[in-house]
């Protein structure tokens, strides 16, 4: 019986989670292998695996994977280094927030992909341009979310610290920053997921390497098996980095999680 909000047993949860993947692949196999769609438009699971294997072994696709990972993390780390301090400053000092918040809110809605033509003019089609796309896409998001989290720091903790003799500087360094560190790490984990979508867009245009390049290249050859393989690789790497990030947060901030 389905009862609202009633928890599910851990074993059942795993089985249900896997079951959907199985159903999904089964449906995919049925419409492709069963001849319900034209194979030119959608490869079946088996040829997808075959194409993927050939990509990895013959076309050195793993180099593309590595270069895409480097671009995501490079751009993301750059954006974090710039955005986290600005976000903390905005959250902690209200005049800084009043000064920057309207612009950052505006800039957040500028689509990173629309910057690609400009960034190519400015930075060429090399690595710098790819990093800048990720940077532009992530930096304003991180600033805003961090500023909101820091602005919502528990006031009673700040007051307690003042009554214990903390200076304004001490409040920022030893109350506001540690109090929000787990939330900031969670924010970074979230934005890293978005960075993966920006990198592919950056690689679709003016690129000669990377997963996105392979995908756009496969399109002209109608190699749908390769395209799907590329998409699945992105999903798997995203999932892995998310797990790693979660584990890191749990290890860094044992006090915040039950």
């Amino acid at each position: 019986m389905l009862r609202p909000l009633h928890p599910v047993a851990p074993g059942t949860r795993t089985v249900l989670g896997i079951a959907f993947f199985v159903l999904f692949v089964a449906f995919w196999a049925w419409i492709t292998l069963g001849g319900h769609v034209n194979r030119i438009f959608l490869a079946d699971p088996l040829s997808m695996l075959k194409d993927g294997w050939r990509l990895l072994v013959e076309d050195r696709f793993w180099l593309d994977i590595l270069i895409t990972i480097w671009r995501v993390f490079g751009g993301f780390v750059l954006a974090s280094i710039v955005a986290v301090p600005i976000g903390i400053a905005m959250g902690a000092w209200k005049p800084v927030e009043a000064f920057l918040e309207p612009f950052v809110s505006f800039a957040r809605y500028l689509p990173a992909s629309a910057f690609i033509p400009l960034l190519i003019l400015w930075a060429g089609i090399g690595e710098l341009e790819k990093l800048l796309v990720i940077f532009v896409g992530s930096v304003f998001q991180i600033i805003l979310i961090v500023a909101v989290k820091v602005g919502a720091t528990r006031r009673d903790l700040v007051e307690a610290a003042y009554t214990l003799g903390a200076t304004d500087n001490g409040i920022v360094k030893r109350v506001i920053m540690p109090a929000n560190a787990p939330e900031i790490a969670e924010t970074l984990r979230l934005v890293l997921g978005w960075a993966w979508t920006y990198v592919i867009v950056a690689e679709l245009i003016g690129s000669s390497s990377g997963i996105g390049y392979m995908i756009i290249n496969s399109q002209s050859r109608l190699a749908t098996g390769q395209i799907i393989f590329g998409i699945i690789v992105i999903g798997l790497i995203g999932l892995l980095s998310d797990f790693a990030f979660k584990a890191l947060n749990r290890w860094l901030y044992p006090w915040s999680l039950a």
């Binding site: 528990r154 009673d156 903790l157 007051e159 307690a160 610290a161 003042y162 009554t163 214990l164 003799g165 903390a166 200076t167 001490g170 030893r174 109350v175 540690p178 109090a179 560190a181 901030y253 044992p254 006090w255 915040s256 039950a258």
Partner: protein, 263 residues
Amino acid sequence: MSKLQIEGVSRTFAGVGGGQPVQALQPVDLAVAANDFITILGPSGCGKSTLLRIVAGLEAPSTGRVLLDGKAVTRPGPDRGMVFQSYTLFPWLTVAENIGFGLREQGRPERERNEIVASYVDLVGLRGFENHWPKQLSGGMQQRTAIARALANDPAILLLDEPFGALDNQTRGLMQELLLGIWERRKKTVLFVTHDIEEAIFMASRVIVMSARPGRIKSDVPVDLPHPRHYTLKTSPEFSALKAQLTEDIRIEAVRTAQTQTA
């Protein structure tokens, strides 16, 4: 000269959305002698917490001033330790690190800090829990840590804002005895805000009763019960007589509060 001098302190809050300003506290005068244990008793919303926060320097008075050892209070500082009703331990610090927080902010050397922290861990009976996170502690243990944290700075006065208000009755009784025991041994000037009549009498050498909003001091009742006090004191005839008197005082104010709220 008194330790703490409250002179004509009042507090008026600006009206919300262009409404009338609200007076939370009428001008209050109060002198507290050194090593006195004062409880401030009043119905909720009478401004007793506001008064305490003004003494702490967390809020500015609209009129008047607060003098501690003859010096005017302008902002919060380590000479006025405070324990809040909500659990305000820093969740990212262990029990020992929480207790040492103030000492660290003042740049005291680590070895000295460790010694002081260890003595306060013992004082509040938390040995063996030094390296626990606050989330691993019960409410009573968290408030014991908070008391140790405030005392570790050796403040001139200890301010407590309904510190046991969120605890269950049994734990609250034990905490009262613990705090009173510390005070009997160590002597400290204490200002303790509560709405619990029994707690106010049991802890105090002097009970200040506040009226309904806008708050003012309604009566000032000395409690001449002997020390050290034991929980059995709460059932003695002298205690009951005081309780009856204060219950009457407070009831009038509570009724008044209820009427202004329904009006």
